[in-house]
Symmetry: D2
Subunit: 414 residues, 4 copies
Amino acid sequence: MARSTVEIAGHIIDSLILPKVLDLIINLGAEFEILEIQVGHRRADRSYARIQVEASTPELLGRVLAKIKEHGALPVEAEDQSAQLEPAPADGVFPDHFYATTNLPTWVRVKDQWIEVELPEMDCGIRVDVNALRAECVPIHRVKKDDLVVVDHGGVKILPVERRVPREAFEFMSSTVSTEQPKGLLIREIAESMNRVRRENGRILVVAGPGLVHTGASRYLADLIERDYVQVLFAGNGLAVHDIETALYGTSLGIYVDRKIRASEGHEHHLWAINTIRKAGGIRPAVEQGLIQHGIFYSCVQKGVDFVLAGSIRDDGPLPDVITDTLKAQDLMREKARGVSFALMMATTLHAIATGNLLPATVKTVCVDINPAVVTKLSDRGTFQAMGLVTDVEPFLRELCQYLVTETVGISES
Amino acid sequence: MARSTVEIAGHIIDSLILPKVLDLIINLGAEFEILEIQVGHRRADRSYARIQVEASTPELLGRVLAKIKEHGALPVEAEDQSAQLEPAPADGVFPDHFYATTNLPTWVRVKDQWIEVELPEMDCGIRVDVNALRAECVPIHRVKKDDLVVVDHGGVKILPVERRVPREAFEFMSSTVSTEQPKGLLIREIAESMNRVRRENGRILVVAGPGLVHTGASRYLADLIERDYVQVLFAGNGLAVHDIETALYGTSLGIYVDRKIRASEGHEHHLWAINTIRKAGGIRPAVEQGLIQHGIFYSCVQKGVDFVLAGSIRDDGPLPDVITDTLKAQDLMREKARGVSFALMMATTLHAIATGNLLPATVKTVCVDINPAVVTKLSDRGTFQAMGLVTDVEPFLRELCQYLVTETVGISES
Amino acid sequence: MARSTVEIAGHIIDSLILPKVLDLIINLGAEFEILEIQVGHRRADRSYARIQVEASTPELLGRVLAKIKEHGALPVEAEDQSAQLEPAPADGVFPDHFYATTNLPTWVRVKDQWIEVELPEMDCGIRVDVNALRAECVPIHRVKKDDLVVVDHGGVKILPVERRVPREAFEFMSSTVSTEQPKGLLIREIAESMNRVRRENGRILVVAGPGLVHTGASRYLADLIERDYVQVLFAGNGLAVHDIETALYGTSLGIYVDRKIRASEGHEHHLWAINTIRKAGGIRPAVEQGLIQHGIFYSCVQKGVDFVLAGSIRDDGPLPDVITDTLKAQDLMREKARGVSFALMMATTLHAIATGNLLPATVKTVCVDINPAVVTKLSDRGTFQAMGLVTDVEPFLRELCQYLVTETVGISES
Amino acid sequence: MARSTVEIAGHIIDSLILPKVLDLIINLGAEFEILEIQVGHRRADRSYARIQVEASTPELLGRVLAKIKEHGALPVEAEDQSAQLEPAPADGVFPDHFYATTNLPTWVRVKDQWIEVELPEMDCGIRVDVNALRAECVPIHRVKKDDLVVVDHGGVKILPVERRVPREAFEFMSSTVSTEQPKGLLIREIAESMNRVRRENGRILVVAGPGLVHTGASRYLADLIERDYVQVLFAGNGLAVHDIETALYGTSLGIYVDRKIRASEGHEHHLWAINTIRKAGGIRPAVEQGLIQHGIFYSCVQKGVDFVLAGSIRDDGPLPDVITDTLKAQDLMREKARGVSFALMMATTLHAIATGNLLPATVKTVCVDINPAVVTKLSDRGTFQAMGLVTDVEPFLRELCQYLVTETVGISES
C-alpha cells in the first residue's frame, strides 16, 4: 500500500473541482479518505480539503497524484519539494519521463521558490533557467541539448481555472450550444465580450476556414477587420485563395457568390487566382499593385492586420504567403497568439484544433461550425474552455456584425 | 452570336455523357442544335453526335466549349488545331490562362500529333516538351521559367471515363452508400477487388487517420500489411504516434485500447511515445532497436512497405519520419502514388482529400468514414470516382480481413 | 428469352429519361436494342425512341417493364391494352399483385380509353369506377371490399416529370444545397417562388417541427402567417406545445427564449401549458378566451389558417387539437394538402417525410434542416422533387421574411 | 428577501449532487450559505449538508426550491409538511400548478407519512388515494375528474440516483461514447449486463427502427430473441414491414439484403408485404399459416415474445398489428415496460425517445445509433441514464451476439 496526503483549496466545491478529484482517485483504482474539510459558507468564500490517497502500488499512486494535480490537488509533502531537472539528451529530444504540460497556469519549485511557468501551452516540456529563476513551456522541436527540463511530477503545481464570482456573462455559456437552442442571445454576448476586449485594448484572434467564403460570409469578416475587431487572422491557403478568387472573378470554387448562375465554370478561377498572386509575389504586393480591391485579405493588408497562412497537404499552389513548413507555421502562430485574449474560430477543424493546442486555457474561445463534431473535437483535444455554437457561419457573422454596429460607440473612443 | 460545332463519340447515351453535355450547354446560358446523331443499337455499340453550340458572345462560347470538353465534346475544327504553348514567366508561375487539368486521361495536339499527357493529376498545368513530343501534368510549384505550358483550351482533348460493358463488380457500387444499407456485400466486393488487384500484381494504397487506432482497428490494418494487401501507406503524425503509443504503453490518447480501464491517464503517453522515437532517430531505428514490437508501423518496417507521413499544423512533436514541409510531402505522395490501382481511405478527411487530389480518375477509390460529410467532400472536391461507405472503421476493417482470409488462396500463389 | 418493344417520347435525352431507362434495363439484368431513335434538334423539340427489351425469363421481363414504365417507357403492345381490374377481397385489403402507385401523373386504360388517375399519391392502389370512367389513388386502409383495383402493370401509363424549357428559377436549384454554398440567393428564389404562388392564388403548406420554437424562430413563422404566406400548417403536438409555452410563460422547454437566463426551470412550463389548453378545451377556445395572445397558433386562429396536429408516441399530453389516431391524421393531411402548390418543410423529419408521402411530384417542395440526413432521407423516400437546404432554421426564416417584405407589393393587390 | 433551509444527504460530494445543487441556486439567481457540512471520510461514508437559500422574492425562492428538490435537497421545514392535494377539475385535466414528476424515485407525504410513488414516470402528475395511502404517477390523459392530484412542491421528496460503491461495470460507461473510441469492450460489458439481467430473471426490452433491417442486422436480433435475450420488443410499422418483406421476398425497400443485385425493384415488395399480412389478419396468423418462416417477428411469435407496434403518420398500410392510436400505443408500452430492467435501443429516434419518456431512471438504457444526434437527444429529453454508443447497428449486433454466445453457459442453467 502506498499513501500520500494532498491538499486542495479554493472554490473547490461549487466549481466541481473537489468532486472531480475524488472521482479521478476512484476511477484510477485508488481509494481516498477525507482527513479534513472546511467549506466556505458563502459563494465568495474559499474552501479547503486535505485528502489521503491510498493505492495498491507506488506506481499507481504516482499516476493518481499526477492526474489529480491537474485539478490543483498537491501532495502536502510536495509543497517544499523541488522540481527534478534533467538535461535534454539531444536537440529536439526531452529527457525520459519529462513533465508534459497542460494549458493551465503552472508553477515549478526551483531553489526553494515557486516560479510561474511562462508561455503556457499544452503538450510541451518545461525548460528551467536555474540561474535566472525562470521557467517556460517549450515545444519538443525547440528544446536544445543540455537544456534543463522538468521530469516527473514533483515540484510542479497547477492552478485549475475556477469560475469567478460573480460570473461574467461569458462564462455563463461555457458549454456547447446545440442546434435546438436560441442563438441570438449568445451571439449578442459574444459581441459584448468582443467589445469589452477591444475597449480594454485586448487582442482578438480569428481563425477561419474556406467555408466562410463559400457561404458568402467574407464581407462580414472583412467588415470586422475594417472595424478593428480582428488583430490577428489564422487561416490556410484555402481561405485566402477563395477570398482572392472572389475579389478577382466574383466566384468561389467557380460558383458565383452573388449572382444567380450556379453552374460551375470549373476549377480554373481558383487556380488562376493562385497563379496571379504567385506572379505578383504575394498578397501584399497584389494589393499594392491594385490587383485585389476588396475582401478579407485586402482589408487585412489595408488595416495592417497580421495574418498567418499555414500550409497543408491538400493545398493547391500554394500562395507565396503560405508557410509550407508546418513547424515554422506553428512557431509563427505561437508568437502571434501571444497576448490574445479572445479567439473566434469559424468553419475550420484543422486550424481550430491547431490553434486551440497553442492557446492558454485563460483565452476565451468561441468555436462556430455547422457540424457539431468539430465543436466536440476541440474540447476533447484539451481546449475545454471553448464555447461551441452549432450554426451556419454566414448568418452567424451577419448577426454578429449587426450587434457590433449597435454597440460600437464605446470602442471608437479607445 | 458565336457558333461552334462539336463532336462526341462513345457510349455517350447510356453513360449519361450526352445528356450531361446538353445540360451544361443550357445551364451556362447557351443553346444547342443536334445536327446529327447515330445511336448504337446495343449496349456494346458506340454512339456518335454532332452538336452545334450557339452563344450570345464569343466569351460565353469559349467557356461553354471549355466546360463540355471535360466530357469529351470536342469542336470539329479543333481536331486539327494545335495546343497553344507559352513559356512560364518565372519559376513557380504559369503563363496567364494556362489550361488547368482534370484527373481524366488527356491528350494535347503538338506538331499535328495527338500525344497523351503523362502523370495525370487534377489542378495542374500541362508542360510540353516539343522536341521529345511529350507532355505531362506539372503542379504549379514545380514549373520552371520558360517551360512551355498549354494555355487556353484549343488542342486539348479529354477522354471521359465511361462505364465499361459488361460492368465490373466494382463499378456496380460507384456511389455513396448510406448508413441505411446493407454493407456486408460491399465489403465483400471491396475484398474481391483487392484480391483481383493483388493477383495482377497491382499496388494498393491505404490512407488512414488516427481514429483507426482509437477505435481499436490497428490490428486489422497491421494484418493487411502482413498479408501483402498494402503496398503504400499515407498518413499523418497522429496515426503513427497513436500506433506507437499503443505498441509502447497499450494506450491510445491515454485510453487503454484493450483493457477495461477507461479513465485516461492523460496525454503523457503519446508525448512520451513521440520523445522515444525522436530519441531513437525514427520509426525504423526504433523497430530495429526492438523498442516497437507490433502495430501498423512495426509491420510496415518488417514488410518493407513504404509509408509517407505528411505533417500538419496540429501535430505534436512530430516524429522524425514526418515530412513537415507540405510541398515536399505532396511531392513524395505524388511519386509513391504512381502505379497504384486501388486506394482505400479510412477515417481521415485531410489525407483523403489530399490524396484524392493526386490520383488519376482511373484509380479505384474507396472512402470509409462514420461521418457522411467526409465522403461527400471527397467527391465534391473532384475525386468523383470515389465509392463512399458510411460506417464505423473498426468493424469495417474486421469484416474486410475476414473476407480476405477466405479468399487468400489465389494470392499466395502470386 | 422474353422480348417486348417499348416506346418513349418527350425530352427524353436532355431530361436524362432515356439514359435512365437504358441504365435500368441493364441493371436489372436484361438487354436492350434501340430499334429507332429520332432526336429533337433543338431543346424545345421532342425526341422519340423505340427500344426492344430482352430478358432471360418472362418474370424478369415483367419486372423490367414495370420499372421502366415509371420513367414513361410503355410497351407498344400496351398502348391498346386495358388495365386489369380485380375486386378487393376485403375492406382494407387490395387484390394480390395490385399496382402500386408513384407520385407521378398516371393514366389507366379502361374501356379503350386512357383516363387520368385522380388524387395522385405514392404507395397507393388505383381504384377504378368503370361506369363513371374515373380512377383514383386509394390508400390501402380506405379500400372497400369489391372495389375494383388495378393489378399488374398493363394498361397503366406514367408521365415522368420533365424539366420545362425555359427553366423556371425554381427548377434551377432542384438539388440539395450543401452547407458550404451561399444560401442568400436560394432563399431569395424561395421568396420569389412563394410570391409567385400567392399572386396566382396558390396555396402554401408549411410543415414545421418544434426546433423552430426552440431556436427562437416562431415570430417569423407567425409573421408569414399574418402576411398570408401560409394557407395550411402541418405539425405535431411539440410545435404547438412549445409555441403555447412561449406565449404563456416566455420559455421553450423551460429555457427563456429572449432573456439571458438559460438555467432551465424544468419541464413544468410545457406540462402546465398542455394542461391549460386541455382545460380551455383546445387552442381555438384558448385564443378566444384571451389565454394565448401571440405566437404561431394565435396567428393561425386569427387568420383562419387550417392546421393539422398529428399525434406521435412521444407526445406529452397531448393538446386536445392533436389527432392521436395516425390514420385519421394522415387522412386529414391528405385532404388539406390537396391543391397545395408549394410546401415548405422546416426542422422536422417525421412530419416532412409523412407529408412528402402524400404530395404529388408536381408540388414544389423545400426542406430546410441543419442536419443533412433529413434532407437526404426525404429524397430517398420518394419525394425526389424536394429541394434541400442545410442550414439553421432561425436565420433562414428571418432572411426569408426580409426578402418577402421587399417584394410584398404584388401580393397585396391579389 | 425570502429564505429557506434545505438539507441534503448521501454521497452528495463524490456523486456531484452537492455541487450541482449549489450551481443551480446561483444559476437561478439566488444565493446560498452552507450552514453545516459533514463530509464522509471514505467513499462508502455518507455526507450531509444544511444549506440556507436566499432569494429576492418568494416566487424565485419557490422556483429554486422546486428545482433543487430534483437533486434531493429538501427544505427542513418540509420534512413534516404534507403534500397539497387538489381534485382534477375534469377528465384529462390536472388541477393548476400540479406537481410534474421526474423519472426518479419519489415520495409524497400524506397523512403524516412518506409513501413511495408507484409507476415512476417523467412528466406525469401524482394521483393520491388518501384512504389506501397509495400514490402513483398518472399521465394527463388518464386522470379522472375529482382524482386527488399533488399540487405545488411541498410534501414531495426525490431520491437522486447516486452512483453506487463499488461501481458496477455498467455505471462505468454511463456517458456517450464517441465515434473515436474502442467499442469492443463496451459491447462486451453490454453483453455481460444482459447476461446478468437474464440470470436474475430480469426482463430486457429492445426498441428498434427499420434501419436495423436495411443494414442486414435482423438475423442478429432474431437470434437474440431465439436465445431468450428479448422479453419485449417496441417498434413501429416500418421495422415489421421491412422484416416481413425480407421474409417474403428477400428484399428490404426493394433492395436484396443478401444478394448482389442492388438495383431496386421498387416499392412494390413492401406494399405487397403489407397487403399479404392485412389479408392474413395480422402477423401471428401469417406465421401460423406458414406465410412467414423466418425473421424478427417470426421469432417473436415462435418464442411468445410480446411486441408493441406503435403507429406513426409516415406509416404505409399499416399492418393490422399496428396500434394507430398513439395514446393507446403509449399506454400499452407503459404496461409492457413495467418490470423491465434493461433497455436496448437501436437505430430509432422516435421510438427511443418515446420509450425513454416512459422508463424510470433506474432502468439501464443503452442507445445505439450511427448518428450522434440521436444519442444526445435522448439524454436531453430527460433519459439521462442512457449510455450512448455511436456506431453502425449491424456490426454492433453481430459483435454483441458473438459475446453472448461465449457467455451463454450461466444463463441456460437458469
